[in-house]
Amino acid sequence: MWTPVALSRDVPPLVVLPVVAGGRELALWRSASGRIAAWADRCPHRGMRLSHGFVRGEALSCIYHGWSYGAAGNCLRIPAHPDLEPPETIRVAVHVAAEAGGLIWVAPSAPEAPPPDPGALQPLRSLTVEAGTAAVLSLAGLAGDTLARGHLAGVEVTVAVQPIGPARCALHVLTGAAGAAERIALSRELDALRRRAEAGEMAA
């Protein structure tokens, strides 16, 4: 099961940030060369959140004691013991991350199918809403689940839906060729949608 967690554009090289997918807290990060990765958000050393860490080159380092981890989640270096070759057993739990259609998708282990591809669209923005997925989609009048489609402010949109909790989700919004004015109107409509959903408004 793939979960969309961010717009590709919002995670440039050397960035790490916390995301939630399938009920798990993950550190999402992109290496200098552009490789995207999603790992358990917990350093095996002393449990610090890796999403507070820093990216150097192709490795993610923990902010607490600087242990760094390579592409496979294996520990590369323990700064307190620079001459020590870290044992193979020190590993961060790695999830599968992939990109399709301007979105970053995450799955706990390699699914059979590649992530859904929304087609050639433009990223608009992501927003988090403090309301359940189903309530938000029906209030917006959008159809579908992971990739929901419809119209907002008169603009055709595709929304990748990321459930975060029973009363929280994130929407990653893509559009076709829309002009600047339409994009602004759509963005305002999304803010209004969030306010209404968070105020508990239900679809008529």
């Binding site: 002393r46 449990g47 959140r49 902010i63 607490y64 004691h65 600087g66 323990i78 307190a80």
Partner: protein
């Protein structure tokens, strides 16, 4: 109800210099307490039912024992040494286990990453061999011969130096750091962390210092220590699990973590589990 091993310890509950006549309503081990002054400047600490606890006024702070003290409040002989400046740093509230706060204070390997350019800096990240022992005769954890390169070891240190430290845990929520004192070779600066456990996942931390430093303005000394601790707080509030694991398996210690390993073992063997978790739990 917490166990006797937990209730019979001493805990800091207020900074004497900041305790006004109105007193202080706070919490200890998950229960409300009230700290105020009784007659003749004697501190008084009462549980919700009005019961008075054993108290001490020492090291700038008011200490209380909710049970029956298993021993006298630990001694810091340096506190009475002439020529030292005693620094009340104040309080910082941290959403973490009190034990995680103490353990972090015993850790040097984080200096280059968390206190960058103050207490440590890359590439000087190596933690050399040091000695750790549970001193049975006093029932305390001690780490000695700890050396670390510091770009700015203290307010009174102008440039980078290799600093020597000793660490001491005289009570489950107290840590004392002894550190080379640049203006007075042969003496140790004393920096403590007194931790008041409000809940298993919430504490108030009272750093306190006894220094040989006549130059630095008091506000700078306080500010330096607060800056350091606020950096630590961003770590402490983001460690998982929130409770300190006392059994091995959940975390991976290395040689640099031997003080932490001894501290956890010492807690476990005395049955001190407030703010801790056992793997089986």
């Amino acid at each position: 109800m917490t166990s006797e091993a937990i209730r019979n310890e001493w805990y800091p509950v207020a900074l004497a210099s900041q305790l006004g006549p109105e007193g202080r309503d706070t919490r200890l081990l998950g229960e409300p307490i009230r700290v105020d002054w009784a007659a003749q400047g004697r501190p008084r600490v009462r549980a919700a039912d009005g019961r008075e606890m054993a108290t001490r006024l020492r090291y700038g702070h008011i200490w209380a024992c909710p049970g029956t003290p298993s021993r006298e409040l630990f001694d810091i002989p340096e506190a009475d040494q002439p020529g030292r400046r005693l620094v009340d740093v104040g309080v910082v509230r941290v959403k973490c286990s009190p034990l995680r706060a103490v353990e972090n204070f015993l850790d040097i390997a984080h200096f280059p990453f968390v206190h960058t350019d103050i207490l440590g800096a890359e590439p000087h990240t190596e933690v050399g061999k040091y000695d750790v022992a549970i001193r049975e005769e006093v029932d305390e954890v001690w780490a000695t011969k700890v050396h670390f390169y510091q770009p700015q070891a203290a307010k009174s240190a102008a440039g980078g130096i290799t600093t020597e430290y000793m660490y001491r845990v005289p009570a489950p929520t107290v840590s004392i750091l002894y550190k080379t004192c640049p203006p007075r070779p042969g003496e140790w600066d004393v920096i403590t962390l007194f931790v008041q456990p409000l809940e298993e996942n919430l504490c108030e931390v009272w750093p306190w210092m006894a220094l040989f430093d006549d130059e630095t303005p008091m506000t700078d000394l306080i500010h330096f220590q607060q800056t350091i601790f606020l950096q630590d707080r961003s770590i402490l509030e983001n460690q998982l699990p929130r409770l300190l694991p006392l059994d091995p398996g959940m975390e991976i210690p290395t040689r640099a973590d031997l003080t932490s390993v001894a501290y956890r073992r010492w807690l476990k063997r005395r049955g001190y589990t407030y703010g801790a978790q056992l793997v089986a739990a």
